[in-house]
């Protein structure tokens, strides 16, 4: 592996929500194959600060692929080229000296741009607040083992519950639909006996909230599944539709 790489970055810069944005081109001459993609942006920002410019704002926190804070479109793909990988876990060993990388924010009407690569994903929180929970007050639970759950069902519930709420599914969808995000939570809870009494209310309220936030509908492109860093299956969307139909019919 070459020790030092010269990387050109075309980065979306936008000072605020209602301002015209544009691409700016920068060069990072001393990138390194071991660094993560976000560390590349760190190095760029140190360069910018030193030269008296404003650094590029991007959301990031755990840098372990679990908090869901980070998320940018890298060369046209949400979270970049490595499958099942959030961009904080994307490493520069997948690039070579002289490469140009284009970096943009998530683009969706329901995710307004805050600044540069940072978007407002609070719509996701409102979808969960509409019904993505089991109504149980602290202190009123029965013994945990009084409710056996088949291992296969528990494992599937875990597959769906693994969603990190990053929003890549929305960014990748031609309709900017939040179906994978919403369906993952609905499917997680639909696998379990807990919360059954509110099952119908849940799916109706969450689906309605999704529409209200300005997300599009699903037309089975499956782009969401392809970019999901947790590999959540679009079978969840089928589950959501089935749950919704059942709720509508009775």
């Amino acid at each position: 592996m070459a020790d030092s790489m010269n990387i050109k970055l075309k980065v979306w810069r936008q000072a605020g929500p209602n301002v015209q944005g544009r691409f700016e081109t920068y060069t990072v001459p001393d990138a390194n194959p071991h660094m993560s993609f976000l560390e590349l942006l760190d190095v760029l920002n140190e360069q910018l600060i030193k030269s008296g410019s404003t650094p590029v704002e991007f959301d990031h926190d755990c840098r372990e692929g679990i908090c869901g804070s980070c998320g940018v479109v890298v060369d046209g793909v949400a979270h970049g080229p490595q499958r099942r990988t959030a961009c904080c876990q994307l490493h520069m060993r997948h690039y070579k000296d002289g490469d140009t990388i284009v970096v943009e924010p998530w683009r969706a009407e329901a995710f307004p741009i805050v600044k540069d690569l940072v978007v407002d994903r609070s719509a996701f929180d409102r979808i969960i607040a509409a019904g993505g929970y089991v109504s149980i007050n602290a202190g009123s639970a029965q013994d945990a083992n009084n409710l056996p759950i088949a291992k296969t069902a528990a494992d599937l519930a875990m597959d769906f519950a693994a969603c990190i709420g990053c929003g890549a599914c929305v960014a990748a969808c031609p309709n900017a639909s939040a179906s994978l995000f919403t369906a993952a939570k609905i499917s997680h809870l639909a696998m379990l006996p807990q919360g059954m009494p509110e099952r119908k209310m849940r799916v109706t309220a969450m689906v309605n909230q999704m529409a209200e936030e300005g997300f599009g509908d699903c037309s089975n492109h499956a782009e969401c599944e392809a970019v999901c860093p947790k590999g959540i299956s679009i079978s969840t969307i089928a589950t959501m539709r089935r749950e919704y139909m059942k709720a509508m019919l009775g």
Binding site: R63, I66, S69, K115, S122, A129, M158, G165
Partner: protein, 637 residues
């Protein structure tokens, strides 16, 4: 402010203290609860569970987080599991044993009564989380599965693959979301607490900065719950998230809240080693890996052969050799120190020689690759993404990294600081882990504090105090707001030559070298001098770009670093003062011939709580009294 610290431990035998307490407290009647506003800062396991539970009870809650959503608090990154004394495996566990293991694991520097309550509550937490729909791992019979963690000889750890923290946090977040939807919690995301506001000596509000617009806001209520996590990022490189910081706690400290045991830092033994200068953080590999992974180094110094070329009899499985009864599952502090010793001895592996092997070959041969993948698949994938190496084929390289801080704001049995009305929950307080936290106990403590302790203790405070009506127009708010604004303007006006990150790395180097895994009197004195000099230079020469009136992460980081530059010095002073080795605090002067930590119970069985005044810090000692447990030398041999 009281200068002596009353721990308010209830009377009676240890096992009955919590019941005694609950029987004796004052309650707020249901109709009056809605008249009280509670400010909850932070939305991790402690803050999320507290906000949800208090809202369920009928209080008006205002909740704050620095992330763009409460679901992203750093509890989300906890991997391995959560302890509880359920004894489902029938392997001899009891509430007493969980209590005892935790006190022993903490090297006898925690409060018995708090820890016993934690162990008692542990079972209810599992019930609550399962009822929320947390998808814990299960056996084929449909019942909950357990795994083992360090410092225990029973399997009491519940887990959801390698994402237990995520699932527990989402459980709390969903409960919070339900209350947000019902209008009982008002949520303020992307808001950073910059100061605590006291009126008549009681905590009545906070000053926050809106991280999108830069606006300073005043929020007021009847009590403030600080659930803002730990301060491991004082070391720059740690397993903490990039935004984790001490600022909210430190601002409270400077308004009078005592800071307890700041030097008690947990260095986690199994993290991915540092690979270069640009490194922004370190990634943990869950302790659960030590269930099946075997730690070793080559017996020969400077052995550069590939691990597979080193024959069995030329490997030193040093944990199994030195600690036959606990083996690879010794507590974290012991495992970390032994890794450091191996590397100091020239037996480290990998390019930097600052790593040891964690090898799964034997477990894969015994159980098959599929079984190992089912247990740790996501961790193995994470390792491969970061290092480019496949741990199914070659051993992982691991090295200790800063992970958790046992120290924090001092609290009494009610989780109240010495500032009335300021409660501190979760990692932000000092209370339950002594000098070393056992694995899978942080999640337990955060949720115990939020779901099952604060609902009682906060009610007692509100019902016992006649709180006059206060709003944001009070002069204390104006003054605190001005302090916050002046500080932001000062940071922006310096326009020096060194970036915030450069200063932070420098502070991290000092902390790691002198206040890290191994400490000496001379090194600590050097650290105190170097940190003071660095802090002075920072305030003259830092370069913070941009403005206050917009999103500006460098400005946020600058403010946090300014506080770390004060905290770091206090940590070194605390470490200097504590002339013994205990838990994560290892002073080289105090060790046995075999290199094991030597406590000094006669002189140091106390909580070191530091009070701040304009003239500097003073030490207040809260003696630790052990009524039920006999202090012994920890032995994992």
């Amino acid at each position: 402010m009281k200068s002596d610290l009353d721990s308010k431990i209830p009377n009676g035998p240890l096992k009955e203290k919590w019941d005694h307490y609950k029987n004796g407290i004052k309650l707020v009647n249901p109709a009056n609860k809605r008249k009280h506003t509670v400010l909850v800062v932070g939305t991790g396991l402690a803050g999320g569970s507290a906000a949800a539970t208090l809202a369920e009870l009928g209080y008006k809650v205002k909740s704050f987080c620095i992330q763009d959503s409460p679901r992203r608090a750093h509890s989300i990154a906890a991997q391995g599991g959560i302890n509880a004394a359920k004894n489902y495996p029938n392997d001899g566990d009891t509430v007493w044993r969980l209590f005892y293991d935790t006190v022993k694991g903490g090297d006898y520097r925690s409060r018995e009564a708090n820890v016993h309550r934690l162990a008692q509550i542990s079972n209810e937490i599992i019930d609550q989380c399962v009822a929320q729909g947390v998808p814990f791992a299960r056996e084929y019979g449909g019942l909950l599965d357990n795994r083992s963690f360090g410092g225990a000889q029973v399997s009491r750890t519940f887990y959801a693959r390698g994402q237990t923290g995520q699932q527990l946090l989402l459980g709390a977040y969903q409960s919070m979301s339900r209350q947000i939807g019902l209008g009982n919690i008002e949520m303020f995301a992307r808001q950073e607490m910059l100061d605590l506001v006291l009126v008549d000596g009681k905590a009545r509000g906070i000053i926050t900065r809106n991280l999108v617009t830069g606006e300073i806001e005043r929020h007021f209520g009847d009590a403030v719950l600080l659930c803002t996590g730990g301060y491991g990022n004082v070391y720059y490189l740690s397993t903490n998230a990039k935004n984790s910081n001490v600022t909210a706690a430190w601002r409270c400290h400077k308004r009078g809240a005592a800071f307890a045991n700041p030097c008690f830092t947990q260095i986690h033994p199994t993290c991915i080693p540092v690979s270069g200068d640009y490194q922004s953080k370190l990634t943990l590999m869950s302790e659960s890996l030590r269930n099946d992974g075997r730690v070793w180094v080559p017996k020969k110094q400077g052995d550069n052969r590939k691990p597979k070329d080193i024959p069995e009899d030329e490997r030193d499985y040093y944990l199994e050799r030195r600690y036959p009864s606990f083996g690879n599952l010794v507590p974290r502090d012991v495992a970390s120190r032994n890794a450091k010793l191996a590397c100091d001895d020239g037996k480290g592996v990998g390019e930097t020689k600052l790593a040891v092997y964690l090898d799964f070959a034997e477990a894969i041969a015994r159980l098959g690759q599929d079984a190992i993948a089912a247990r740790y698949g996501n961790l193995f994938e994470m390792y491969e993404r970061i290092t480019g190496e496949n741990p199914y084929e070659t051993p992982m390289r691991i090295y200790p990294a800063v992970h958790y801080t046992m120290g924090g704001l001092w609290v009494d049995y009610e989780l109240q600081s010495n500032v009335p009305g300021l409660f501190v929950l979760g990692e932000a307080n000092f209370s339950d882990h002594g000098a070393n936290r056992l694995g899978a106990s942080a999640l337990m403590q955060g949720l115990a504090d939020g779901y099952f302790v604060i609902p009682y203790t906060l009610g007692n405070y509100l019902a016992s105090n006649d709180l006059k009506k206060v709003d944001g127009t009070h002069e204390a708010f104006s003054k605190a707001e001005k302090d916050a604004t002046d500080r932001l303007e000062k940071l922006l006006s310096i326009k020096g030559t060194k970036t915030v990150t450069e200063y932070h790395r420098e502070l991290g180097r000092i902390m790691w070298d002198y206040v890290g895994m191994s400490r000496t009197e001379e090194g600590l004195q050097t650290a105190i001098k170097e940190i003071a000099a660095l802090r002075e230079d920072f305030w003259k020469n830092v370069l913070v770009p941009g403005e206050n009136s917009t999103m500006n992460k460098n400005l946020e980081f600058a403010g946090r670093l300014a506080d770390f530059l004060e905290l770091g010095e206090l940590m070194a002073r605390d470490a200097l003062e504590r002339e013994e080795s205990c838990g994560g605090h290892f002073r080289e002067e105090y060790q046995s011939e075999e290199g094991e930590a030597m406590r000094n119970d006669d002189l140091f069985t106390y909580v070191a709580a530091w009070a701040y005044s304009e003239n500097g810090h003073t030490l207040i000692k809260e003696p630790l009294e052990y009524e039920s447990v006999k202090l012994t030398t920890r032995s994992y041999k």
